[in-house]
């Protein structure tokens, strides 16, 4: 297959903001809400998703010529499930405390729409290099999204950042931020903010052009 379309560099950059999996494609919202109570858990989750996404993309890209239409999804699912199991076991072995905190959300990476979507859209059609850079870009974009939600929730909710105290002692912790309602509200408002910024930029580039 010829590489018509964006180059690997472009794909990488696209994944960061223009095609951000959470803010633009609205995929992968379950972990974005669930593990963003603190930066530690959020970044661990981002790392796990990155590992699975990159490995799955590379593998899928390697076997892309052998895939038949009906069995595509099956193969993707099998691959992703295997890598998620490996990631889960690695976490349990080397970061036991963190794996306990993340709980059931690591295996839920299997049904994370981001990964299946990238495999389907990109990796099964493009070469390994492009697939890999696409995966890296999307993972970073996902990590950025998680970081944005997690910082707000952690700083307002516990007064800490990565576990280190940043707010003054007198700050009354907004407990609600660390609980489900805070997650929904934060993501909803940040989504609105992202849309608003996007609309402004469009208008600017629209009027400038």
């Amino acid at each position: 297959m010829s590489n018509d379309g964006p180059t690997s560099g472009e794909r990488f950059l696209r994944g960061l903001i223009p095609e951000n999996p959470v803010y633009r494609q609205l995929l992968g919202m379950c972990p974005t809400l669930a593990v963003t109570g603190g930066m530690n858990t959020a970044m661990t989750m981002a790392g796990a998703v990155a590992f699975v996404l990159i490995c799955a993309n590379v593998l899928t890209s390697l076997i892309r010529n052998l895939l038949k239409p009906h069995l595509r999804i099956l193969v993707f699912t099998l691959t992703i499930a295997t890598f998620v199991t490996i990631a889960d076991r690695l976490l349990a072995c080397y970061m036991y405390q963190m794996s306990k905190e993340l709980g059931p959300y690591i295996p839920l990476i299997i049904v994370n729409c981001v990964i299946i979507c990238r495999c389907e859209v990109c990796a099964s059609k493009q070469s390994v290099a492009i697939a890999a850079s696409d995966a890296v870009g999307q993972s970073l974009g996902f990590a950025l999204a998680l970081a944005s939600v997690a910082s707000v929730r952690e700083i307002l909710g516990s007064g800490t950042f990565f576990g280190l105290r940043v707010m003054p002692e007198a700050w009354p912790e907004w407990g609600i931020m660390v609980m489900p309602p805070g997650a929904f509200l934060t993501l909803g408002l940040l989504l609105g903010l992202a849309n608003w910024i996007g609309a402004i930029r469009e208008k600017k580039s629209g009027t400038a052009a």
Binding site: M29, P181, L189, N195
Partner: protein, 268 residues
């Protein structure tokens, strides 16, 4: 009676107190995508409940008999100490995919009008976190080490069904609200996913009010055994109180009479 009350607790907890969508954040994608109209939402909810029941049933069977450490069939084939739990996630995802296929075939064949109303959602459900989450919860309670009883099929099914029911409740409420929101002036940047998430946040806040209901339910259904009075065959004493003064109220747990330790048969 004990067992029925445990089932009721699991049901209420899964459907309302620890609602899958509003507390555990699973099933958000369909929650946002399919909640524009009440009838569509209800259809999606029914589809999810169907699939989650079948998937729960199958995953319990696999986990109990094959996958957990020390499972009967695994021990039969491999020997003592068989632990196939590493294959759990792959098995579950296949179970879910097959359940979706099964339900789709079954409904299309036997209930065409039903298929018309929610059949289109079925393929989407394969990537629905809620179903995999139900399977993972079942695994958590079935693949326990020695010392605890693994959940039976009835408890697992109750969890699955009422998890689906909870999802349906949440998504229908959301659909009702969104239908009203259509007439409101939502800021452009918040339209769609933004406002849905904010409303979900308020809903989740409301559902937090149910927290602790399972504790109270538990106490109502299996009240703490009445404090046993010290059986005393000692003689009466002149001038001394004839009974020991009432100890502090019994510790909340059933049968926990710590202060009256001396009634036990061993001590005489």
């Amino acid at each position: 009676m004990e067992h029925i009350s445990e089932l009721i607790l699991v049901a209420v907890s899964a459907a309302i107190i620890n609602n899958f969508v509003l507390h555990y954040f699973v099933g958000i994608c369909p929650f946002i995508g399919v909640s524009r109209r009440v009838d569509m939402a209800f259809g999606m909810g029914c589809a999810v409940t169907f699939v989650i029941t079948i998937a729960g049933l199958l995953s319990w069977i696999f986990t109990y008999y094959i996958l957990r450490p020390g499972a009967p069939l695994a021990v039969l084939v491999i020997g003592e100490g068989a632990d196939l739990s590493i294959l759990s996630y792959i098995v579950y995802i296949f179970v879910i995919a097959s359940s979706v296929q099964l339900v789709e075939m079954y409904v299309r064949k036997f209930f065409p009008p039903l298929y018309k109303s929610f059949g289109v959602f079925l393929p989407l459900i394969t990537t629905n976190c809620a179903i995999l989450f139900a399977c993972l919860e079942i695994m958590k309670y079935v693949a326990v080490g020695k010392g605890a009883d693994p959940w039976g099929l009835d408890t697992a099914l109750v969890l699955a069904i009422f998890g689906g029911v909870g999802f349906t409740i949440a998504i229908v409420i959301m659909a009702g609200i969104r239908e009203e929101l259509d007439y409101c002036d939502v800021p452009r940047s918040l339209r769609g996913a933004g406002i849905t998430l904010i409303v979900a946040g308020i809903l989740s806040l409301a559902f937090m009010g149910f927290g602790g209901v399972d504790r109270s339910l538990k106490e109502v259904m299996s009240p703490a055994k009445a404090a046993a009075v010290a059986v005393d065959d000692d003689e009466e004493y002149i001038g001394a109180p004839t009974t020991m003064p009432a100890a502090k109220p019994a510790d909340g747990d059933a049968g926990a009479e710590i202060t009256m330790k001396t009634q036990r048969g061993a001590v005489q």
